[in-house]
């Protein structure tokens, strides 16, 4: 069974990559943005399955983006692998510190506290004129192991990076969700006292999940920064984190692909809402979220699994 799903995985990756090349430029750009956000939402879903809703993933999303920005702009490092490693390291380092305090909280307090941390980072960045304050600054073209792509090829490089990241992280998380430590999150959500009396530290389970979610958000931030070519403190603002939770709920939390689908449809919905109703696009987004929460509480993914179940008979 293992080799079959790995082949499927590589096939999926190649398919997505070719799709990204074939579709018109604006749609492939949108796909990369959606994949970047999808990776962050994967982390949000990971925490949601452990009963925690983070309104502060923007903190690591912004860290990942600023690492990409500072390395390419100020440190002259443009190798995409180095940037990804640095952004994972930075996100996990900050999460290791913040998590010590944050992972003791649950429910609304976890949501509010995580938002407070991301707003503190927002305040720091607005204050720092070196990093361009609210205007932010541009991210230069990435390179790969010395190969510096020409202008058009650079967006293909970022597309490849995004696709590879989505596939690797997607499959890792797919395995993780099926594994024991994946279920440990649901156990903590269901009953912390039973988990404690099974001889395991609840804090350690939540803490490791928080670090993983932070790393995912950092990678997502880096991908978005590389493709959009600009970073600003807005990425740490509470509305950005709110958007991730919006997408997580929209997609659903029952499968690894749900966040990707959620992010893709969200970007498409917003783009067309912008085009159709420049004045009232917020109303379209708001009503869509409301309809999904009321009629599809487990997210759009429940539609897909329902079809596939019917398909399989």
């Amino acid at each position: 069974m293992q080799t079959k799903s790995i082949l499927l995985l590589i096939g999926g990756a190649l398919g997505l990559f070719v799709l990204g090349l074939l579709v018109p430029e604006w749609l492939s750009y949108l796909m990369i943005i959606a994949m970047g956000k999808g990776i962050v939402v994967l982390g949000v879903v990971l925490l949601m399955r452990a009963g925690l809703v983070s309104f502060g993933q923007g903190l690591y999303y912004c860290i990942g983006a600023y690492v990409a920005g500072t390395l390419t702009q100020f440190a002259g490092i443009s190798d995409v692998l180095l940037i990804l490693l640095a952004s994972i390291a930075a996100s996990v380092l900050v999460a290791a510190l913040v998590g010590l305090l944050l992972c003791r909280y649950r429910g609304i307090f976890f949501a509010m506290f995580s938002m407070a941390f991301s707003m503190i980072l927002y305040g720091l960045l607005v204050r720092s004129s070196v990093l361009g304050s609210t205007d932010g600054f541009n991210v230069l073209r990435p390179s790969l192991l010395g190969w510096v792509p020409s202008d058009d090829a650079s967006s293909d490089l970022v597309l490849a990076v995004a696709v590879v990241m989505v596939m690797i992280l997607g499959s890792l998380m797919w395995l993780y969700f099926r594994s024991l430590s994946g279920y440990a999150g649901e156990a903590v959500r269901e009953n912390e006292i039973r988990v404690e009396y099974l001889g395991t530290s609840v804090f350690r389970i939540i803490y490791t999940k928080y670090l993983i979610a932070a790393a995912l958000a950092g990678i997502g931030g880096t991908v978005t920064a590389l493709v959009s070519g600009h970073v600003d403190p807005e990425m740490a603002y509470w509305t950005t984190s709110g958007e991730f939770v919006f997408i997580a709920l929209m997609g659903g939390t029952s499968h690894v692909a749900a966040p990707m689908v959620g992010a893709g449809l969200f970007e498409l919905l917003r783009t067309y809402a912008f085009a159709i109703a420049p004045y009232t696009w917020q109303m379209i987004l708001g009503s869509t979220l409301l309809l999904i929460i009321i009629f599809l509480p487990s997210g759009l993914w429940s539609l897909v699994s329902r079809f596939s179940r019917q398909a399989r008979g």
Partner: protein, 426 residues
């Protein structure tokens, strides 16, 4: 990863590709992307007035009713079809929307961008997609100081001009000037304005100036009670602010109610947008700027008279500087096309636009900075007076473009600190 998980993604792409087909046929129109704030706090004072100005000028260009010397109908002989996009959502969103405009809507060029963050994020994308883009309102000097772009123009001068001229104005007109204080919004625009203002003043007075307090309330805070008290506790001869839009209204109302405006000489570097709504609350003697020769400071010209009367007739309020900025950008674009001749390629229009001089509603605009891509105009300040309810200005001083704009190739901050070498002021 089961195969069916990819089904929804391909479903979404098919839907999107389908819509692409419809937008290709209508080629004989000149599609102009227009990006301004249509939602959020910046839409009221900037976004919508700019959109209105664009509608007005585009209709006039299409009908050929703009006063001489502008002639011909439409741009490059084609009727202009504006496509509006809301500038909300931050720089990442706007780079996506920019690509949508170029790729999906197939626009010929784009005029837009009020927020400086967007003005830094868009140019690299414009270069990549080789699309003529005119920035019409953002003030950060960093656009052409940190990079040079072939496809990007900015049809108005940077915000540094406002604050350099402000420092010169109060240095010349406020006698026994010893101390200044400032209240600016806590974001790039506010920081840069305060820095340019104080650095220029230090240079002009060779350091003989004291800063009593510098306040940086949050953008759109709306409540300035504590800041006004801080300005009162440590009074200064002149209080500087680069507030704009709703924040200006809130500051003026709360300061007026507490007498801050009477007791202190205040200078609003971007105060002109508040004139129509709050004129009566501003006491005589308040120094007002309009980010250039716009509104009441616009020099007499047939174009300006036409613009003032038509705008007021159609939208009920006289045009403020964002409207002037938009009109200047669209007219500049049209003149560049006229100068480049019929069926000119984008590159030919760019060559025509570089180093071009033209008459906008606010007078002469010369594109002689940033290798021909950045405009420089004169700057005007004046003191508010009221004669029988009509708003007027005394002590109006006009500063030539080369007096208050850093020369070609100079970095603003360093140019000021170096004593503004090469500034030609009569």
């Amino acid at each position: 990863m089961r195969l069916d998980s990819l089904k929804p993604l391909s479903l979404a792409c098919a839907v999107a590709a389908g819509t692409l087909v419809t937008s290709v046929q209508a080629a004989e129109e000149y599609k102009l992307g227009l990006v301004t704030f249509l939602s959020g706090a910046a839409s009221g004072p900037f976004g919508i007035p700019a959109k209105n100005a664009a509608d007005l000028v585009i209709d006039a260009i299409n009908d050929g009713t703009l006063p001489a010397p502008i002639s011909g109908k439409g741009i490059d002989g084609r009727q202009i079809k504006p496509i509006y996009v809301d500038e909300a959502g931050g720089a990442t969103k706007q780079t996506a929307e920019y690509r949508n405009l170029v790729d999906r809507e197939g626009v010929d060029s784009i005029v837009g961008y009020i927020s400086s963050g967007d003005c830094l994020a868009i140019p690299p994308v414009a270069e990549e997609l080789k699309t003529l883009t005119v920035l019409f309102d953002c003030g950060t000097p960093r656009v052409f100081e940190e990079g040079d772009y072939k496809y990007v123009f900015r049809s108005h001068s940077t915000a540094s001009m406002d604050n350099i001229a402000a420092a010169r104005y109060i240095n010349e007109t406020v006698d026994s000037l010893k101390s200044i204080s400032g209240i600016n919004q806590n974001y790039s625009w506010g920081h840069d304005s305060w820095r340019d203002f104080t650095e220029t003043l230090k240079v002009l007075r060779s350091g003989d100036i004291e800063i009593t307090t510098e306040q940086f309330p949050k953008l759109f805070a709306g409540q300035y009670g504590a800041e006004i008290s801080a300005l009162m506790v440590k009074p200064a001869d002149v209080v500087h602010t680069s507030f704009w839009g709703g924040d200006t209204d809130a500051l003026v109302l709360q300061a007026a109610a507490r007498g801050l405006l009477e007791d202190n000489q205040m200078i609003f570097t971007a105060g002109e947008t508040a004139l129509n709504s709050l004129g009566e609350h501003l006491p005589d003697g308040v120094i007002i700027g309009a980010r250039g020769p716009f509104g009441p400071f616009a020099p007499e010209s047939e174009l300006n008279t036409w613009f003032q009367s038509e705008f007021t007739k159609r939208f009920g309020t006289p045009p403020t500087y964002p409207a002037y900025h938009m009109a200047q950008a669209v007219i500049g674009l049209k003149l560049a096309y006229d100068k480049a001749g019929a069926d000119a390629t984008t590159e030919q229009v760019i060559d025509a636009f570089e180093y071009m001089e033209f008459e906008g509603p606010g007078g002469k605009v010369s594109m002689n900075r940033g290798k021909g891509h950045q405009a420089a105009t004169e700057m005007v300040y004046g003191r508010l007076t009221r004669s029988n309810g009509e708003i007027g200005f005394t002590d109006v001083r006009r500063y030539a473009a080369d007096c208050v704009n850093p020369p070609e190739g100079a970095i603003t901050e360093e140019w000021i600190k170096a004593g503004m070498p090469g500034a030609k002021c009569d």
